[in-house]
Symmetry: C2
Subunit: 346 residues, 2 copies
């Protein structure tokens, strides 16, 4: 670009309103920071949209807004989280993630060095998942009108022929499998926010699950009825949602639900049920009893599924309750979260 | 849904943090407000992603964040603007818009009645453009951490076989056509923000241009080299961008560039060049001289192109300058906007 009036001072510079103006400063930010981090042939063309070829068939589209606070947390940041979350929403449909968009809403004064770190994390997470960030947008709002940075992503992917994962496929007797420990992401964020110190730092589980999904589908084939990632609202919200959509109920066994000791301790301290806490690298699979063992073995053989467990089963229930047999031999209903205990967890 | 603890009081209610929690209040908001406004079979399935079938071929994807202030303005609101902007980014590639996603970042305390009006405008604009809003996300941040409402949309569309609009197609001698008057959207926003009163209210030109694009391509066929919508940064930014990407320059004639008298007066009052002001319902087409008259006639025959004009041509220029012969017989360089005169215009 000709005649730069100033260069992008990433080390010391901050975002100002001109970076959202559609003028030269914005063009510099896009070429000097985002293209560097996401670098691919689509962005290089500099259009307001990007084209790609598809072979036909069934595609999926998803979107998520990210407002997590703090922006950097143990195990990730808002950028890696945004890519993982988008990849996972696509993967839960059994689809292969292909392309993503990213919309940045930035508060005036935000440090360019932080923006660069976040964009680099996004680029890295996208490359690791085999997706391309092919189009984006940048807006800047005045100081005090946002909280540092919000990112909204959308993603598209392609569904393998003949695959149709849906809550409607769930049947009485289906097994509920969880790919690992619950609550890690939410508790990592809460600990950081409240400056809680534990013996070992609790890390977010934020990760892309597309490869684990491939292994699950190989092992379980048509016995895999549906998958969901229990993010906001935790496993409780996810299973209540599935119960309604599938016109079933669920019965869980508390003692086999995997929760790390540190996370369990933090939940008790904070007065939070781990079943309500967000996860960003876990999935629930509802599978037929015939394939449950094979799918569980496939999960455990994968680095992101080593703590996988069978935690319950689908039952007939017109009320669509999620019940849990507790460790003390009693029982309780696992309800949705009714208030908001954990704002801005993702 | 069973056991609502409270209903959604759209008339008097406000957004609170629980509406972003992943719990029951969020489910109510989605089913009671967004599904009502966008109502379609994809959203009704309640998945975190939505599937659609494609016949194969070339697709485009785009995204935009909307932070316009005020949220309601003469001629539209943030919701209709978000749909028009997404439809237009897809249409500029000559593609037919098909599906959209919408991510809402809402400040605690935002009035539900306003959210409903905005969602209804989105639904209406989407139906008018033949696109479906098939997936969405809702986040709520604490009071003071956003400014009412931000919306990020993404869209996908399908490109007709054999069509490839791109800045690289532009040639020396190509004509520059604009579909109508410049500056209406930006000045409508600025007037509202600054409480400027004119004899007649200046209305935003916010509109979906997909149908105008169809007519342009019918009239100009392969003589249409590229199209762009001059949004943020106005016509000046758009032509400078095209000049760089196409390795050309442009020469414009000021006296034939259409600007409404009220808009021209407001620009003078505000000290703004109308070529820098955002448009949300206009397009620039770069076409071969052979088809220029036919395309111009097709534009003028369309309700959204009645003020269309040929305003200049592409010239050889290693500096990629956009020059303009002024009405007084002089000449000047039309540069990018260098600072930020018009924050949060879209």
């Amino acid at each position: 670009m000709r005649g730069h009036q100033r260069t992008l001072d990433i080390r010391n510079g901050c975002i100002d309103l001109s970076h959202g103006s559609g003028g030269r400063a914005m063009a510099q930010l896009i070429s000097g920071l985002f293209h560097e981090a996401f670098g691919n042939e689509w962005l290089a063309r500099g259009n307001d949209q990007s084209a790609f070829d598809v072979g036909g068939g069934r595609m999926v589209m998803t979107t998520d807004g990210y407002v997590v606070s703090p922006l950097f947390f143990p195990g990730g940041n808002i950028g890696s989280l945004a890519v993982h979350g988008t990849v996972n929403d696509i993967a839960m449909a059994g689809a292969r993630p292909l392309y993503m968009s990213a919309s940045f809403i930035i508060e005036e004064g935000f440090r360019l060095s932080h923006l660069k770190m976040i964009a680099e994390s996004m680029g890295e997470a996208a490359r690791a998942a085999g997706v391309h960030i092919i189009t984006g947008d940048t807006k800047v709002v005045e100081r005090g009108k946002a909280d540092g940075l919000f990112i909204s992503t959308a993603g598209v992917g392609v569904v393998p022929d003949g695959l149709d994962l849906s809550a409607e496929n769930a049947r009485v007797g289906d097994r509920v499998l969880i790919s690992g420990t619950l609550g890690d992401h939410g508790i990592a964020i809460m600990s950081k926010r409240q400056n809680l110190a534990f013996e070992t730092e609790i890390m977010s589980d934020s990760a892309s699950l597309h490869d684990l999904v491939v292994k699950i589908l190989e092992a379980g084939a048509h016995g895999v009825h549906l998958m969901r990632d229990p993010t906001r609202g935790g496993l409780a919200a996810t299973l209540n949602e599935i119960a309604q959509q599938s016109d079933l109920g669920f019965r869980l066994q508390e003692e086999v639900i995997p929760v790390k000791p540190d996370v369990a301790a933090a939940c008790e301290l904070l007065g939070i049920d781990p079943l309500h806490v967000a996860n960003e690298g876990k999935l629930v699979a509802i599978v037929s009893p015939e394939v449950a063992n094979a799918v569980l073995a496939a999960m455990r053989a994968h680095p992101l599924g080593c703590d996988a467990a069978e935690i319950g089963e689908a039952i007939a229930d017109d009320h669509h309750f999620v019940q849990m047999a507790t460790s003390f031999g009693g029982g309780r209903i696992v309800d949705w979260l009714s208030g908001e205990q954990l704002p801005r967890i993702c």
